[in-house]
């Protein structure tokens, strides 16, 4: 017995140790190569001692810090989704820097590191505040983190959109740069890593006991809330240090614990230790390779790490067994009323919203109603918003019914991000941007995303965590690509920002006709979809016995969902939350049969998008907040309140 245990422990050390050693050794080799490549001259020695050496040290230290923090997050939250970025730490740092650059330039004298650190701590405090009442249960923390990230990023996107000429100074930080000019960053990172290492030493035992589940751990005397808040606080402080030294570096914190586990580290202690070691080698290796190619292409480390880390995590994820389903299965209906009454009420709400959207406006002298001279401006915007609302709600219902997953929506699963990536690719490559080229790019992107998603999902029976994680990764990939474009100073950056924020500003009459036609087609398919959407969720065997081909029905529905998402993304960008909000809201008000669910969700989608567009035009008049951003702000409230509360309130 003892002998076997020893062998087990030895295997547990050998795998991760070899991986970590290989990574660190390659990083060292690259570092030596970089040192030898410094051109002789005036500053050669200074550059080696104060430029290249501290950059290498910072790579090792920040990588180790992220690996450690990531392992802590995953251990505490028992969720492979958990990584430093998920909890809004980076988004908070970024918003603080943006706000300081715009309104408090005097803060610059304290250095951007201090500003970024304070911002991340404030964001984390927000997440803590939101989840404290629920004893820091994993689901509460993750939902609070998602919401904080959404809001902080939306605020940041808005400020960048309005002031990107001023904020271009921040793009270097935003893309994650490990460039150093002295040893201060390294000193800060090493102090934080040593301190965190010591504290986590004490946390290893209780954290290991968390794996027994809440009841089991409590029975053995673990004070759950205390252990969770200490570990999370520690991990957040560590991440904040990285944010201030190097900027947002995603995926190291996600990949390292996964790699440690895949290499054989099973127990909590081993996983935490080896995750830090692997993270250290991983980031240093990536950063030193990029330093090597800098004379040819000066690309920011953080963005590249995210671009490589996203697909890598996805591949690793395929091998992992889904953990307990952390997300709710659905929201029960909230009150009893006949579907007819509900639909009638929705129709009234929808008409009022559209009417207000078309006719109520502002001038410098106050509010006024007008259906005449301003209609050409508003008409197209209202029409494309409404069409996007229909299409997103449609895609949302299809995906939710198909997967039986309450978190399935074009936005959360990353289908919208896929469409956006396709569109960005077309915008950068194509010389002429007509509507068909653009649409083809978006459709190809959405289609690829959805195919990848469902190939991945089939293995785990569409486990919510896998699906949402895939969405998080696609969204991170989109973020990485846009960071690179912004940091490069490409003149198209402004246009890209505007489009990613989901602005309906550029909508023309032709756009309105085009989008409405697509929405109309979606409406026409409703009667045809009612049967498959009712039967498919009942299971493959049952479906086949009713004479329906499961694979064909599935592929067809997926194709429709990606088409609808792609068209909607063209209009309102990848951000809005209508695709998750509308299907849930429809179900909550009692529209449960497939046909009514679809129709109700579409009506809610229209009202929401038109309202988001209108409030965006009015709220900061004469400045206009894009409909997509406004929609994500409205949707964010819903996701927290409803999905968070139902199960845990």
């Amino acid at each position: 017995m003892a002998g076997r245990r020893e062998v087990g422990i030895r295997a547990e050390v050998a795998g991760p140790a070899m991986l970590a050693a290989a990574l660190v050794a390659s990083a060292v080799a690259l570092f030596i190569l970089n040192l030898s490549l410094v051109p002789a001259g005036l500053l050669a020695e200074t550059v080696k001692v104060y430029g290249i050496a501290p950059r290498f040290a910072v790579g090792l230290l920040c990588g180790g810090t992220l690996g450690l923090a990531g392992a802590l997050f995953q251990q505490v939250l028992r969720n492979p989704l958990a990584e430093p970025g998920t909890l809004g730490v980076f988004a908070g740092a970024q918003l603080a820097l943006t706000a300081a650059a715009l309104w408090l330039p005097a803060l610059a004298q304290f250095g951007s590191a201090a500003v970024a650190f304070c911002g991340s701590i404030l964001a984390a405090a927000l997440v803590f505040g939101m989840s404290a009442r629920r004893g820091f249960t994993p689901i509460a923390v993750i939902l609070a983190g998602m919401i904080a990230s959404i809001y902080l990023s939306a605020a940041n996107a808005m400020l960048s959109l309005f002031n990107h000429q001023v904020l271009e100074d921040l793009y270097i930080w935003q893309a994650g740069s490990l460039v150093q000019n002295d040893w201060r960053g390294a000193a800060m990172a090493s102090a934080s890593l040593v301190l965190a290492g010591l504290v986590s030493g004490f946390l290893v035992r209780p954290l290991g006991l968390l794996e027994l589940g809440d009841e089991g751990a409590r029975g053995l005397g673990v004070r759950l809330a205390a252990i969770r808040s200490t570990s999370l606080g520690l991990a957040i402080a560590m991440t904040a240090t990285v944010a201030s030294v190097a900027g947002p570096i995603g995926f190291i914190g996600l990949l390292s614990p996964m790699l440690a586990r895949a290499a054989g580290a099973r127990r909590a202690g081993a996983r935490i230790f080896w995750s830090a070691a692997i993270g250290s080698g991983l980031l240093a290796c990536a950063d030193q390779s990029l330093a090597l190619i800098r004379p040819i292409a000066d690309v920011p480390t953080g963005a590249v790490v995210a671009a490589i880390g996203a697909p890598a995590s996805l591949l690793l994820l395929r091998r992992m067994r889904p953990v307990e389903a952390a997300f709710v299965a659905g929201v029960p209906r909230q009150f009893e009323a006949s579907p007819r009454t509900v639909i009638a009420a929705l129709l009234v709400a929808l008409t009022v919203t559209v009417f207000v959207g078309l006719s109520l406006g502002r001038t410098p002298d106050g509010w006024f109603w007008s259906l005449g001279e301003y209609l050409p401006w508003r008409g197209a915007r209202v029409a494309v918003s409404a069409a996007a609302g229909i299409l997103l709600a449609y895609a949302g219902v299809l995906l939710q019914r198909l997967t039986g997953n309450a978190m399935a929506s074009p936005e959360l699963l990353g289908v919208s991000s896929g469409a956006a990536l396709g569109l960005v690719g077309v915008a950068l490559l194509a010389t002429e941007l007509d509507r068909l080229t653009v649409a083809a790019g978006a459709i190809a992107g959405a289609g690829t995303a959805i195919c990848a998603l469902f190939t991945l999902g089939r293995r785990s029976a569409y486990a919510p965590e896998h699906m949402v994680l895939a969405g998080v990764m696609l969204t991170a990939l989109l973020g990485a690509v846009s960071s690179v474009i912004l940091a490069s100073g490409d003149p198209r950056a402004g246009m890209l920002l505007q489009w990613l924020a989901g602005s309906t500003y550029r909508a023309t009459f032709d756009d309105a006709v085009w989008a409405s036609t697509m929405a109309g087609i979606a409406l026409v398919t409703v009667p045809l979809l009612a049967r498959p959407l009712t039967i498919l969720p009942l299971g493959a065997g049952f479906t086949q016995s009713l004479g329906m081909s499961v694979p064909i029905a599935r592929v067809l529905l997926l194709a429709l969902a990606s088409l609808a998402t792609a068209i909607a993304t063209l209009v309102v960008g990848p951000l809005s939350f209508v695709g998750i909000l509308a299907p849930h809201a429809a179900r909550m008000i009692g529209l449960t049969t497939a046909r009514l669910h679809l129709i109700g969700a579409m009506m809610i989608g229209v009202a929401l998008m038109v309202f988001a567009d209108w409030i965006g035009r009015m709220a900061a008049y004469p400045w206009q907040i894009p409909a997509g951003l406004m929609g994500s702000l409205l949707g964010g409230v819903f996701v927290t309140l409803v999905l968070g509360r139902r199960r845990f309130g």
């Binding site: 001259g41 005036l42 500053l43 200074t46 550059v47 104060y50 430029g51 650059a101 330039p105 610059a108 004298q109 250095g111 951007s112 590191a113 959109l161 309005f162 000429q165 001023v166 271009e168 100074d169 793009y171 270097i172 930080w173 460039v179 150093q180 000019n181 002295d182 201060r184 109520l360 406006g361 502002r362 001038t363 410098p364 002298d365 106050g366 509010w367 006024f368 109603w369 007008s370 001279e373 301003y374 050409p376 401006w377 508003r378 940091a487 490069s488 100073g489 490409d490 003149p491 402004g494 246009m495 505007q498 602005s503 500003y505 550029r506 023309t508 008049y621 004469p622 400045w623 206009q624």
Partner: protein, 296 residues
């Protein structure tokens, strides 16, 4: 949330009828009421003495351009990418000056008033020549050809004078930089920038020969300045930003301290100017460079 008083149809019509008298705030009598949707166009119109009734992103103008000073009259149209069309239609300008890069997304401006689409961004990489053209063109459009001619000749005279002043002193290559808050990077201006062309006019050699983006600028690490150790560094900050803060944070940076011009004290503060601006920015830069170099 909504002011209920303006809702009756009659009050709206009355209000609209009363508008023209209330809106003649800007410009001399007989001057057209113009709107400008981009910073350089606003700057040129102000230099010609005709404040627009509405301008794109007024806060950004104050923050970045600042010369000539923006009076309080013009309405803010919001972001340059999305000027508020409803507001513009409400103000009913006689003529709109917009940048040609805005044409793709804002072609609809033509439904409000005649639009002159002008190149604010020099596709040929010669922003100063473009700034001269822009001044003359806008001057002609608003019937102020004489003012435009005066501005152009004054600018040329100012450059000539600067060249004469500088000819006497020692010839040195000059970097124009703006430090970022992180204490590690800076913006520097090279080929295709207003700085480069202004330098050519006043006879100063630009020390930065590295790559630059579409606007002639580049963000690089401070160590890159070591490529010309003999240069003088003129550093400016944006309006409202204390230039000392960046220099102070750099003073703790060993790489920066090792640079020869830092050790010899050849880093000189420069008054703020807008590196992507029009003629007033170029003139302001020329004067500031003379002041800084001669004081050295």
């Amino acid at each position: 949330m909504i002011g209920a008083r303006r809702w009756s149809r009659r009050s709206v019509l009355l209000g609209l009828a009363a508008l023209p008298t209330g809106r003649s705030a800007a410009g001399a009598p007989g001057s057209p009421r113009i709107a400008t949707t981009e910073l350089v166009l606003t700057q040129t119109a102000l230099a010609l003495g005709l404040p627009p009734v509405a301008a794109g992103n007024v806060p950004l103008y104050r923050r970045l351009v600042d010369e000539p000073l923006m009076p309080s009259g013009p309405a803010d149209l919001g972001p340059l990418n999305e000027p508020n069309l409803e507001l513009l239609q409400y103000l009913k300008p006689d003529l709109i000056f917009a940048a040609s890069w805005q044409r793709v997304s804002q072609g609809a401006l033509e439904r409000i008033a005649p639009v002159r689409w002008l190149d604010t961004f020099a596709l040929d990489g010669k922003p100063l020549a473009n700034a001269f053209r822009l001044t003359e063109r806008i001057g002609a459009e608003i019937g102020r050809d004489e003012q435009a001619a005066t501005i152009v000749s004054n600018a040329k005279a100012a450059f000539q004078q600067a060249r004469r002043h500088l000819a006497d002193g020692p010839r040195k290559a000059v970097y124009i930089v703006r430090f970022l808050d992180d204490g590690r990077h800076l913006a520097v201006f090279g080929r295709g920038s207003l700085v480069e062309e202004t330098f050519a006019e006043i006879g100063v050699e630009n020390a930065w020969r590295g790559t630059s983006n579409a606007f002639g600028g580049a963000f690089v690490g401070v160590e890159r300045l070591a490529e010309r150790p003999d240069a003088v560094v003129l550093s400016f900050a944006r309006t409202g930003v204390d230039p000392k803060a960046a220099l102070e944070s750099l003073s703790r940076n060993p790489l920066w301290r090792a640079l020869p011009f830092v050790q010899d004290g050849r880093v000189i503060p420069l008054a703020p100017f807008f590196p992507a601006g029009g003629l007033p920015s170029a003139v302001r830069l020329g004067r500031a460079v003379v002041g800084a170099l001669l004081q050295d």
